[in-house]
């Protein structure tokens, strides 16, 4: 199925704005999660101090990532896990596929993992004849619908109850109903069967603790618990930036993540998995494989400005707070990572050339920075990426050669603006000329909808006035008035 790409973000956004149902769903998301978050952070004494400490911890970890990864790997192995290093997504997919094949397994269940979405793991497995079953309800819904997730935490948030009911009716034979309990009951029944039969369970990792080699998985549904304990083999795919130094650091991250993302004080389940079972007769998988995946992260780490985007703990708070995301949803971004953090990391992971619109898909309002539990300065990163787009440097991103396509007219306009406005005389004369020219478009003291030739000559004016009046230039500038008043 053809998914929209970020290269057509403008068109994707326009289509999304026409989707009344989507906009209703997004309005609910923004209000509900926004209000819940506000209440939830009140239950923490010194929320700001917590954010500072978490960010400091992330900075320290990222500054010594090799050391912490090494400790994590050694401690995990000591506890019985097997560590695999994957330099990119393709390698990670190959490692997972080989593990499944070597064990002669065919029945695979998955719990929600954005890292596996990032590398399109399901598609890679399906291409080899496997049929991995997503067990997180939202992920299962989009799997049935052949869609990509539209949110980092609630992947099917764009779907209405009605759409889900129709989907279930079509794909798994559940009689159509609006009753949420019936729908989730049906999902539970069907997925239970997959759990019972599964030979391999694939999960993500929220945090990997270097001190003990423990992986932590957060969830509300219990499907990750089943995915990682019932099958004989558990494969955990972990981005290398997910490592944290000590077990006790989990305290601050667990206080921050659920409150920020969904407004919960804590998720329903937190699973800490340290290696494999100690005794053969215990319950749990026989094998634990942890795939430590780079896929562009060490390249991002090398860049001093954009490095902070690796501090992201994938809570989704920035999406919920973003006025752009709230209007157009996740699919418009054409990336499994949408919203503010997506606009920053997608160009770094997949290249600026094919994602050049994303840094501009923002009004720079800063709401994301305000809600980020680890204080990532997303607007600063967006501005940095915009500079890379115009300068064609694309440093620190996945583009190996050649600048991003330049925008000659825009570039010329800004060069002229800088030159003219570096001179008070040119600035003043520019205003005088513009005041004469504007008579072409000013009616009744304002500039209404500009069309025809004028629109072609000044596209920004047409874009503005399609929906908004534009103010005319005043008959005299402030400085001309001041000069008059202060003569002699």
């Amino acid at each position: 199925m053809q998914h929209p790409t970020s290269e057509t973000f403008d068109r994707n956004a326009r289509e999304a704005l026409e989707d009344v149902q989507l906009r209703g769903a997004l309005r609910n998301l923004a209000t509900t999660f926004g209000e819940r978050r506000k209440l939830a952070i009140l239950t923490v004494e010194d929320w700001e101090g917590l954010r500072e400490r978490a960010r400091a911890s992330k900075d320290e970890t990222l500054a010594h990532l090799d050391k912490y990864l090494k400790a994590f790997a050694e401690n995990a192995e000591r506890a019985g896990a097997q560590i695999h290093w994957a330099s990119d997504g393709a390698e990670a997919c190959r490692v997972v596929l080989d593990l499944i094949r070597e064990r002669g397994a065919t029945r695979v269940v998955k719990s929600k993992s954005m890292a596996t979405e990032e590398i399109h793991l399901n598609a890679a497995l399906e291409a080899e004849g496997l049929a991995p079953v997503e067990t997180d309800l939202g992920e299962w819904i989009i799997q049935l619908a052949h869609e990509t997730p539209s949110h980092i935490v609630v992947p099917a948030i764009h779907k209405s109850k009605r759409q889900i009911a129709e989907l279930f009716a079509e794909k798994v034979g559940v009689p159509p109903t609006d009753d949420v309990a019936v729908l989730t009951g049906a999902a539970r029944r069907i997925l239970r069967q997959s759990f019972a039969e599964a030979e391999v369970g694939i999960s993500g990792v929220n945090f990997g603790v270097a001190e003990t080699g423990t992986i932590l998985i957060l969830e509300n549904e219990g499907n990750a618990r089943l995915t990682t304990s019932l099958p004989r083999t558990h494969i955990a795919v972990m981005g290398i930036e997910k490592v944290i130094p000590r077990l006790e650091d989990l305290d601050m991250f667990l206080k921050l993540l659920p409150r920020s993302g969904t407004g919960q004080q804590l998720t329903a389940y937190q699973s800490l998995i340290t290696g494999t079972k100690r005794r053969a007769e215990d319950e749990g998988p026989e094998e634990l494989h942890i795939v430590l995946m780079d896929n562009g992260r060490s390249r991002m780490l090398a860049h001093p400005v954009t490095r902070q985007s690796l501090a992201c703990i994938r809570c989704g708070a920035c999406l919920n707070a973003c006025p752009v995301y709230q209007q157009v949803g996740g699919h418009a971004y054409g990336s499994v990572y949408p919203g503010p953090i997506g606009a920053v990391i997608t160009p770094q992971l997949s290249g600026l050339r094919t994602n050049a619109q994303l840094p501009y898909a923002s009004s720079l309002c800063g709401a994301c920075r305000e809600v980020c539990p680890v204080k990532i300065d997303i607007p600063e990163l967006l501005l940095h990426l915009r500079a890379e787009v115009t300068e064609g440097t694309a440093a620190g991103t996945a583009d190996q050669r050649g600048p991003v396509k330049s925008r000659p007219l825009e570039r010329l306009a800004f060069k002229l603006y800088a030159r003219a406005w570096a001179s008070p005389t040119l600035y003043l004369w520019g205003a005088r000329v513009a005041r004469v020219l504007q008579r072409l478009v000013v009616r009744d003291g304002r500039i209404g909808r500009v069309g025809g030739l004028m629109a072609k000559l000044a596209p920004p004016l047409a874009a503005w006035t399609e929906w908004r009046d534009a103010p005319p230039l005043a008959p005299r500038t402030f400085r001309e008035q001041w000069r008059e008043e202060h003569k002699g």
């Binding site: 009004s363 929906w467 908004r468």
Partner: protein, 241 residues
């Protein structure tokens, strides 16, 4: 207190009366106001669109003009332009000399409302206005400069004007500089949330500290033939209805 007015290109060219109002209010509050006619633009449009060389050129010029104007403070009727001055140092990378100059200048550059309340200690300028008013928090003023309580205190002291807190007052208006014309549909969709809230609030005027937000909000209000006015804080504070 000697104040050098940083008028901003939008106010200079589109709403000079806002500049005149700002000067009047500052004088009423006891300041001597000077205006350096060499000033043009802080370079924010270039910086925000990624044209750093152009932004740097304008920033250098700005610093040179304002740093030895002999004023105690540089005051601007714009949160975003003031914030830009506070971000100047980001344009100078490893150039320590320019960074120092930028930081020194930023330390005495203030947004208009914050200056009245925090520096002059004034929250009542003797203004009067008939009818309910509400406040829109401009994003840069709020999140970059921390301006939130100051304008509300000033508005609450305007005689005759009942201050109404706007739901989601701190939600973006959708302007975002070139965003407003690169992605106009999204810009207007965001704007319409703000417009809905404003209309529901039943106010005579929506007030803000940033001419760019006012251009966005007012543009839609007049296109909708709304009876609500969009006013700059300086205009309201200079009002004597």
């Amino acid at each position: 207190m000697r104040v050098s007015l940083f008028i901003t290109c939008l106010v200079d060219q589109l709403w000079p009366s806002v500049g005149a109002s700002a000067v009047e209010v500052l004088r009423r509050a006891g300041c001597e106001v000077v205006f350096d006619e060499r000033q043009t633009c802080c370079g924010q449009p270039a910086f925000n669109t990624g044209y750093r060389n152009e932004a740097r050129r304008l920033a250098r010029r700005f610093i040179e003009i304002f740093e030895d104007g002999g004023a105690d403070a540089i005051v601007s009727p714009s949160g975003s332009c003031t914030a830009m001055v506070h971000h100047f140092h980001e344009l100078f990378g490893d150039d320590e000399a320019w960074c120092k100059r930028a930081e020194a200048l930023a330390a005495r550059t203030y947004e208009f409302g914050a200056f009245l309340v925090n520096v002059l200690g004034v929250d009542d300028v003797g203004a009067s206005f008939k009818g309910p008013v509400t406040w829109h928090d401009a994003c840069h003023g709020l999140r970059d400069l921390g301006v939130r309580e100051e304008p509300r205190r000033l508005l609450r002291n305007v005689r005759g004007a009942e201050f109404v807190e706007l739901p989601n007052a701190d939600a973006c208006c959708g302007f975002g500089g070139t965003f407003s014309v690169k992605y106009p549909e999204i810009s207007v969709a965001i704007l319409d949330n703000k417009i809905d809230a404003i209309e529901k609030a039943g106010v005579r005027a929506v007030v803000s500290g940033d001419a760019s937000c006012l251009m966005q909000i007012n543009g839609r209000l007049t296109r909708n033939n709304s009876s609500v006015r969009a006013m700059h804080l300086a205009e309201l504070l200079a009002s004597h209805e």
